[in-house]
């Protein structure tokens, strides 16, 4: 189990670095994983060049969904919104450093889906965002 539940994932799950809700914020989005009810909200503050200056996530869910949200939020500090738009699932998998099956992938990618839907300013998130 160690390759899957790598130390980093468990640690980040138990003690996330970026858990919280930014208020005020420039971008806010939230969504559920319908398979399990896991929930992620992401809030961002961006500067005048559309670069992320601050980011946080909130929500509840399994170790995979929560730790990947924490790692994802960490990774986008200083990134331009355009860069975020071009992120795909490999970005998250690289951060986690593990392989995931079809079902768990949805857990891992929930935060990216929420992030991109927020950055694109969509009304609703969809799976195409993390294809």
């Amino acid at each position: 189990m160690d390759d899957l539940y790598r130390e980093q994932i468990i640690e980040r799950y138990k003690e996330p670095h970026y858990r919280g809700h930014l208020d005020p914020n420039d971008i806010q989005f939230e969504d559920d994983n319908p398979l399990c009810g896991d929930h992620i909200e992401i809030t961002l503050r961006v500067d005048k060049d559309d670069k992320v200056v601050e980011a946080a996530f909130d929500g509840h869910g399994c170790a995979i969904s929560q730790s990947s949200a924490d790692l994802l939020v960490e990774s986008i500090h200083g990134k331009a919104l355009d860069e975020i738009k071009s992120m795909n699932k490999d970005a998250v998998l690289d951060l986690l450093g593990i392989e995931l099956g079809h079902v768990r992938l949805k857990c891992a990618l929930l935060s990216l889906k929420v992030l991109k839907a927020g950055v694109y300013g969509l009304g609703e998130a969809n799976d195409d965002l993390v294809a």
């Binding site: 138990k14 009810g37 896991d38």
Partner: protein, 414 residues
């Protein structure tokens, strides 16, 4: 410690019939399959029945004169007769082949209900229903304005029959409920619920997805109007289920899907519907799957439904005992007396996905989530549970492995 011997039931012999139980999902560990409530495994007899069908007798049915078509038709209809006998239906033509329990319930909602229910009419469901027995009625509610009322579930996970009686006084048209909860394991007093419904002039539908696979269900004894179940949960193939109905109800229902086989005659502008059961079977049906379903029923019958129920009861009792020992673990539902082979639980504040995933690393297959019973989970104030479920091929040793696995999960998160 583990007592493998059961009267009239040799689980080792049973296990040898299920090839997947030798599968090692983790190197060196044959899978410990505790997820039969979601879908059961299949014995060789069922797999081979379909294999042989495709290699020897495959053809489209009913309208064919040649030998293969004759054989396929006979096999398809013989399977219907076997399944009819299995639930003690008065006649095979009262069994409609569907895709699954879900389609069976939707069929009733689309035909009987749309022909008989109007705005304001009341349908009684229960708080422990699977989404399959909620959403079809919610759809009819938004389309028609019918009213949905729910029999309350008590803290222990039983139906509150007082709440049922007070709903009955409001002139319900339909009482539709699960025979056994796929989360709590509760086996509901179907005969009594049906009798009361009939006394109040209501039609009854039983969701038998979890009952028909696990203990003897006799539609005449129950006096149920409609019964829905799926082959894949009773050692049969995916892609096929049954709707049983009383003959006069079925005969008076409008057809559901339109197309080949469900017609007596077709002209450009109109058609005449066929007799039962074909009236409700449009297009080429799941022929090989019917053959597999027939083999599944043969298999279960040869083992004996009472023996299966007794075995499951023994395993479940043992599992509940052992799970109770685990600190921080809380099993939902009644104690083993009224309970089928299902143990859904929370474990400290561990997420069911994490529990299931870590158990999987030891080859233990359990389900995590709301098990398509979200309202029930809401009622108990949890988002999801981890569910271990048991069937004829499970053993006490497997329960022991589950318990060991749960302790390991705890370690990972400490």
């Amino acid at each position: 410690m583990v007592n493998q011997k059961l009267v009239g039931f040799e689980v080792k012999r049973i296990r040898a019939d299920f090839p997947i139980l030798d599968r090692e999902t983790q190197p060196g560990i044959p899978v410990i399959y505790l997820d039969s409530t979601a879908s059961s495994q299949k014995p060789i007899a069922v797999i081979e029945a379909m294999n042989v069908f495709y290699r020897r007798s495959n053809a489209n049915i009913h309208r064919g004169v040649h030998t293969l078509a004759e054989e396929a038709t006979a096999l398809y209809e013989e399977a219907r007769e076997k399944i009819a006998k299995f639930i003690n239906a008065p006649a095979a033509k009262q069994l409609i082949y569907t895709r699954n329990t879900t389609e069976s319930i939707n069929l009733v909602a689309h035909t009987w209900a749309r022909a008989n229910l109007k705005s304001g009419d009341m349908v009684i469901l229960t708080e422990m229903e699977h989404h399959s027995n909620l959403v079809p009625w919610q759809m009819l509610k938004s389309e028609r304005g019918i009213r949905l009322e729910f029999i309350t579930v008590t803290e222990e996970g039983l139906l509150d029959l007082d709440s049922y009686r007070s709903l009955l006084d409001q002139n319900p048209k339909l009482v539709s409920f699960t025979h056994m909860s796929n989360v709590l394991g509760t086996i509901n007093p179907a005969e009594e619920i049906i009798r009361l419904a009939h006394e109040h002039g209501a039609v009854t539908l039983v969701d038998g997805a979890q009952s028909v696979p696990h203990f003897g269900v006799d539609v005449q004894k129950l006096d149920v109007d409609f019964l829905a179940f799926s082959a894949h949960k009773m050692v049969g193939p995916t892609g096929i289920g049954i709707l049983y109905g009383k003959q006069d109800l079925l005969e008076n229902m409008p057809p559901f899907l339109g197309g080949g086989d469900m017609i007596k005659s077709v002209h450009l502008q109109e058609f005449v519907a066929n007799e039962l059961p074909y009236k409700f079977e449009a297009g080429t049906p799941a022929i090989a799957e019917a053959v597999g379903f027939g083999a599944a029923v043969d298999y279960l019958t040869s083992v004996g439904m009472d023996a299966i129920a007794a075995h499951e009861h023994e395993i479940t009792e043992y599992a509940l005992e052992r799970l109770e020992e685990v600190p921080g673990l809380n099993v939902f539902g009644p104690n083993s007396q009224d309970k089928g082979g299902v143990a859904a639980f929370t474990f400290d504040d561990l997420h069911p996905h994490d529990i299931a995933q870590i158990l999987d690393r030891d080859g233990i297959a359990v389900r995590a989530g709301h098990h398509c019973a979200q309202p029930l989970h809401e009622k108990f104030g949890v988002r999801a549970t981890t569910r271990a479920s048991f069937y004829l091929y499970n053993t006490k040793e497997e329960v022991d492995k589950l318990i060991e696995g749960l302790y390991k999960v705890k370690e990972v998160f400490n």
